[in-house]
């Protein structure tokens, strides 16, 4: 048989990493992406990428990185892959450096490192405050090189609809839809790798990009893939509230010395710069003296919520706190944080060099995702997953600057593993189920286009976002989660009556969106029900009614499987691999 064909879906860091490894190993790759891959959401990552290179004489080690990651994730992550990732991280940084990523430098010409949340070491390499952009571009350039050499075929502007599974449930390719011609087509492959990112769109407004709908992972979930730890959603403590989205204000702002505070007097009317030091409440520094402003994100986010909603100290009574950089000199700020300060100034119209920024937590990252084994393969043979769309590396809470390394590492694993898997794959019988899958997807399209009713998909989406943000983010109550699930069930019902105002078959963006919406709704149930069943507080999952971590019952991976029944997905629990670091209490406020 001819060379093995691998399909990679998603052109962010994870997808491109996988593509590079496969092309380098001599495989052929079809790369699918909704947007030109250079516009993928990885471009939004700001602060940096972690690796224990120990270039600051602090004695940092990969073991310490591993421990910080596991501890930061509240022991929910399986330790074997996390350990391997932390050990691989320094070489990944070196590789990126060789690819030309313009990392900031020390005077000696070595990589500079900054501090980030959840660690006491300078472990984060960075390229200004646009590290994700620089990393994505470096990988994009390598892929463009392979593309020019004919080793990679890009299908930009194609949306993944489903996997093609043969009679034995083995992946034989994908069905994708051309977002211009709306053509639905089967693409055969010997293995597929999903690298389709996070699910921010479930929450309406988040720091995620528009394409981060989780539609692809939801589609394979509905085809039988397991979805793990869906309830773990990271809400980033510092984002800029906006009309259309929440814009991230990187943790690196605090890594470079930014301080979070509110006036001690509720509703203080003085101009911010005239409030004396003694009357500013640096609550993170007071509550967490050891880590200060660099506590992990879940901790900082809950602290901000407490200050705003319990202590009533939000700025002008609004849900906002100050993130203050004004004490740092102008040049240092421009050199290390220029990109994000520019974003703030452009979108808010205030110069953060001279006036503290007003920020508030916003939905940011999906710790959960498709269940995969240590080879990055889902329970569907031949369907691999890497990057934010899978669940493996961050447990109950991701540490800042670990996502970039997990995406690249995951892609580097998934690529060669998929190739190895494909080598031993027996030839498909007939078309492997391609025609049937195309027919099924076309049927869905036909129905959506011919629907009669009064529902607008964008309005349903807005309601979904409001519900999810209200009940399934920072603070969760079982009553609220119940209400959220009922709301989603209602939305699923109303979805049946969507009437598209645009029924054309050319670049029909609302049609594509309506398709994604169905998948978002199904996934939203999984997230919500997972949260409902987990009666404890762990990492980003916080239930005031169950304020403690409960290792006995819940040191477990949540594994959801799609049933199609009204009751929603079936959820099982799987033991967590804790063979290297025994779980210990997670206390960032402890003085030790």
């Amino acid at each position: 048989m001819a060379t093995r064909k691998i399909i990679v879906v998603g052109g962010g860091l994870a997808g491109l990493s996988a593509v590079i490894k496969i092309a380098e190993a001599g495989g052929t790759v079809d790369l699918f992406s909704i947007v030109p891959v250079k516009r993928s959401h990885s471009v939004c990552a700001q602060g940096g990428i972690n690796a224990a290179k120990n270039l600051k004489g602090e004695g940092d080690t990969t073991a310490q990185h591993f421990d910080d990651t596991i501890y930061g994730g509240d022991f929910l992550a399986n330790q074997t892959p996390v350990k391997a990732m932390c050990e691989a991280a320094p070489a990944i940084i070196d590789l990126l450096d060789r690819m030309g990523v313009p990392f900031n430098r020390t005077p000696e010409g070595l990589l500079d490192f900054r501090r980030f949340g959840g660690t006491l070491y300078h472990r984060t390499a960075f390229a200004g405050a646009t590290t994700g952009q620089q990393l994505l571009y470096a990988l994009d350039e390598q892929v463009r090189r392979f593309e020019a050499e004919g080793k990679v075929n890009k299908f930009e502007g194609w949306e993944f609809l489903s996997a093609i599974l043969d009679g034995k449930g083995v992946a034989r390719g994908i069905v994708a839809m051309n977002l211009r011609t709306m053509e639905v087509r089967a693409f055969p492959a010997d293995a597929i790798i999903l690298a389709t990112g996070g699910i921010g769109a479930l929450f309406g407004k988040s720091t995620n990009s528009v394409v981060c709908t989780g539609s692809a992972q939801s589609a394979v979930f509905q085809q039988g893939a397991l979805y793990a730890n869906g309830e773990f959603i990271q809400v980033h403590p510092t984002s800029i509230p906006g009309e259309d989205k929440l814009r991230l204000m990187s943790e690196s702002a605090r890594g470079e010395g930014g301080r979070v505070w509110v006036p001690r007097t509720p509703g203080d009317k003085r101009p911010v710069r005239s409030i004396p030091e003694a009357e500013r409440f640096y609550f993170l520094e007071e509550w967490y003296p050891k880590y200060g402003n660099l506590v992990p994100r879940d901790v900082a986010t809950r602290a901000i919520h407490k200050v705003v909603y319990q202590l009533g100290l939000g700025i002008d009574g609004q849900p906002m706190v100050y993130l203050d950089l004004t004490h740092i000199d102008h040049q240092t700020l421009d050199r290390k944080l220029g990109g994000i300060l520019e974003i703030y100034e452009k979108f808010v119209g205030v110069d953060p060099h001279v006036e503290p920024m007003k920020i508030f937590p916003g939905m940011h990252y999906t710790m959960g995702g498709l269940w995969v084994d240590f080879d990055q393969m889902t329970n569907l043979p031949g369907v691999f997953a890497a990057g934010e769309c899978e669940y493996q590396y961050h447990g109950a809470n991701r540490l800042g600057a670990n996502s970039l390394v997990s995406c690249i590492y995951g892609g580097f694993q998934a690529g060669p593993n998929a190739l190895r898997y494909a080598k031993d794959l027996p030839v498909a019988e007939g078309d492997g189920g391609a025609a049937a899958e195309v027919a099924r997807q076309s049927e869905i399209n036909k129905k959506l286009l011919s629907n009669e009713g009064g529902e607008n998909p964008f309005k349903l989406w807005r309601e979904l976002g409001q519900t999810m943000t209200e009940h399934v983010t920072v603070t969760r109550y079982n009553k609220g989660l119940q209400a959220a699930d009922e709301k989603i069930v209602e939305l699923l019902d109303r979805y049946q009556r969507i009437n598209l105002s645009d029924k054309s078959q050319w670049a029909n963006t609302s049609f594509a969106f309506a398709r994604q919406l169905k998948n978002m709704l199904e996934l939203a149930r999984t997230v919500t029900l997972g949260a409902m069943l987990r009666d404890e507080s762990r990492g980003a999952h916080y239930k005031p009614d169950f304020p403690d971590r409960n290792d006995e019952r819940f040191l477990k991976t949540t594994k959801a499987s799609f049933t199609g029944a009204v009751e929603g997905p079936r959820i099982e629990f799987e033991a967590v691999d804790t063979q290297f670091i025994p779980p210990r209490p997670r206390r960032y406020d402890a003085a030790s």
Binding site: P36, K38, H41, L95, Q134, V210, A507
Partner: protein, 249 residues
């Protein structure tokens, strides 16, 4: 008091061969509103000022924080990113049109793949031996990093090409973005292995010589890339390369 509103006029075109029409929308004003949030609002209720039911506007967007480069369009006549176009800073009615120099797909969507083709033509990458562990990369001074970083911030929005009087079907000009990338990769200690090849590529038809130095690119660039300086630097190097090639031939 009447509710404050915002008026948009959007150029619509259902497909490349369909006629274009202007549609007018009136939306409730909200603080911090930008052109994208207005478009989202329209999608939820696609009805024009005249009460005519229409379709949601097709447009490209992704990150909404001016880093992905998707949402470039002409707003009040000027090419810019829709996400960072705050309604409060724009004269009303806000007229929104697609970029004019690229093949139209639908409404505000255009096909900008020519830029990515151009990047291939100039080998805009660092040719590493492989992704296996070969130790750390070349040392660079902070000054070198600070010179390269701004060039590496190009978001491929194509605003520089849209506003360039020389970028058109007649000239087939490559545009400022690609020239800046040539400078970036020629500056890199490993990337410069292709330096001569890139310079020769840029002396091909549609190359750097087509630049008319109107300097619109540097004015329009949302990421403030030093585009004109890149054109000057690369322009000199292309000439030197061509002279060398001629002397050696």
């Amino acid at each position: 008091m009447a509710e404050r509103t915002v008026v948009f006029e959007i150029k619509r075109q259902a497909s490349p061969d369909a006629p274009s029409v202007w549609e007018r929308f009136e939306l409730p004003w909200r603080p911090g509103m930008n052109v994208i949030s207005a478009m989202m609002e329209i999608a939820g209720n696609p009805v024009t000022c005249e009460g005519h039911c229409t379709t949601p506007v097709a447009y490209d967007s992704n990150c909404l924080e001016e880093i992905c480069g998707s949402c470039a369009m002409r707003i009040n006549g000027k090419a810019r990113m829709a996400c960072s176009s705050l309604v409060d800073n724009l004269e009303q009615p806000i007229r929104v049109e697609p970029l004019s120099k690229f093949p139209l797909v639908r409404d505000l969507q255009v096909d900008r793949s020519v830029l990515f083709e151009n990047l291939k033509k100039v080998k805009a990458w660092v040719p590493i031996d492989g992704t296996y562990d070969l130790g750390s990369g070349p040392r660079l001074t902070p000054q070198e990093q600070e010179a390269n970083y701004p060039l590496s911030n190009c978001i491929s929005c194509t605003c520089c090409m849209e506003v360039c009087p020389q970028f058109n079907v007649e000239t087939g000009f490559v545009g400022a973005a690609t020239i800046a990338q040539v400078k970036l990769f020629n500056n890199h200690p490993t990337g410069k292995v292709f330096k001569e090849e890139r310079l020769r590529a840029l002396s091909g038809d549609g190359g750097i010589q087509e630049c008319g130095y109107a300097q619109n690119c540097v004015q329009a660039c949302p990421k403030q890339l030093p585009l004109t300086s890149a054109i000057s630097d690369v322009g000199r190097e292309v000439v030197v390369q061509k002279v060398k090639d001629w002397l050696k031939s």
